[in-house]
Amino acid sequence: MAVASLAGSFRDLSIAEDAVQDAFVVAAERWPVDGLPPNPAGWIITTARRRAIDRLRRSARGRELEAQLDLPGDLDEEGYSAISDDRLRLIFTCCHPALRMEHRVALTLRLLGGLSVEEIARAFLVSGSAMARRITRAKFKISAADIPYRVPHDADLPERVQGVLAVLYLIYNQGSENALGEGAALRAEAIRLARALVRLMPDDPEAVGLLALLALNESRMPARLRDGGTVLLRDQDRSRWDGALIDEGQELLRMCIRRDRPGPYQLQAAVQAVHSAARSFETTDWAQVVTLYEHLHSLQPTAVVALNRAIALGELDGPEVALAALEPLREALDRYVPFHAAVGNAWRRSGDLERARQALQRAHELTPSDSDRVHLERWLSELPAR
């Protein structure tokens, strides 16, 4: 939040970052002695602002810049609503479509998420220096190409919001690959940022939809791991689901439905809400799930959505129907782990264990997730012997 506020004034993310870091160092020294200021956040921002101005004044170029920039005085009430605007500007800048996805993710997590470069690197399985390079390159692009620091114009807003949501969703999903360690931190960041976005843009139903989706997915996390392996939805102990998150997700979804402007994230959230409402896998309203995926497919005709639809169809109408719906997707999804897992499951249910084994082994080969690997090994070992 402090970085956002300063980035607004100084239009240079590096200056903003360094100044905020300086301010935190000073705070760590002074607050234990002087006591907490009445407005800690405001103190940080004001101190950082002064530091940034000091830095600028040290160089001729900096003094030139200082003259050009319109730097407001210390923060007051008005300053605080400006912070929200700054935060929004920063989110849209970090998620600008001219930046490649991995750069958007890195920049968002670093500048808005407050994660260290090392933490982000570990979460995305790259080295610290590789992640630092992504952030540097992204900042350079913003500066050199002059990506404007602002909330997009109304006409562009829907598309640009979808871009932000895609970044947050990617961060959440990366955090789900491995449920423990860095994964938990990533998921928490994604949810925190999604909440902030909803506070900033309460009238955007897709932003609300994403938060609902993340809340509902997160509600199942306590049940998703057992003995180091992923537990599938069908086998999860539903008593371990987080009721508060389910309530939040369902309430958010009700808000969306009232707006009646459906979109992909709202629909995905609706699917998860159907699961959350079901006592058991078997008693899930599969017809409703199929309908929702069909609606989603009409908006996003991707192979992955078709896959999810096929899986739901299988639950509704049996494994032969699932297999018929899955086969046409093979070419598009041949490297996609959930596809092979779904095929394996359908063959298992229809009694062809050899084909089931082949599919599950393919999934096992492909998955980068340790917990998924453990789960698949368990599944393979549970298949009746040849």
């Binding site: 001219a98 190409a145 002059d146 990506i147 997009p152 562009d156």
Partner: protein, 127 residues
Amino acid sequence: MNQYLLATYGSPGGGSGEPPSPEEMQQRMQGIIALEEEMDQSGTFVFGGHLHGPDATTVVRPGENGPMLTDGPFVESKEHLAGFYIINATDLDAALEWAKKVTDCIGNVIEVRPFGGTGKAVDNMPG
């Protein structure tokens, strides 16, 4: 105010893909004329041009015994630099809007590159 290069890439046929029909060519010409008028009116157009293709191109490169010449483009590829605009734009978003209009008009791929400095090198030296 920034300057951007909008570099148009195309394949020898004309646009990217099938060579355009005479009617399509006519439509594109009209579109481009109108677009360039808009660029002019808004102070966006700085300079532009349509380049002759790879067959008219010569490359000069440094060599052991002095600069060497080659007939043909720098990079042999299906797509070549077909033309360009240099435009004034307040920021990347503005430049991208113009690039989108160009590509809507003529169907080519446009590379949008910001200028670091324009004019002579001596005018862009630091200090």
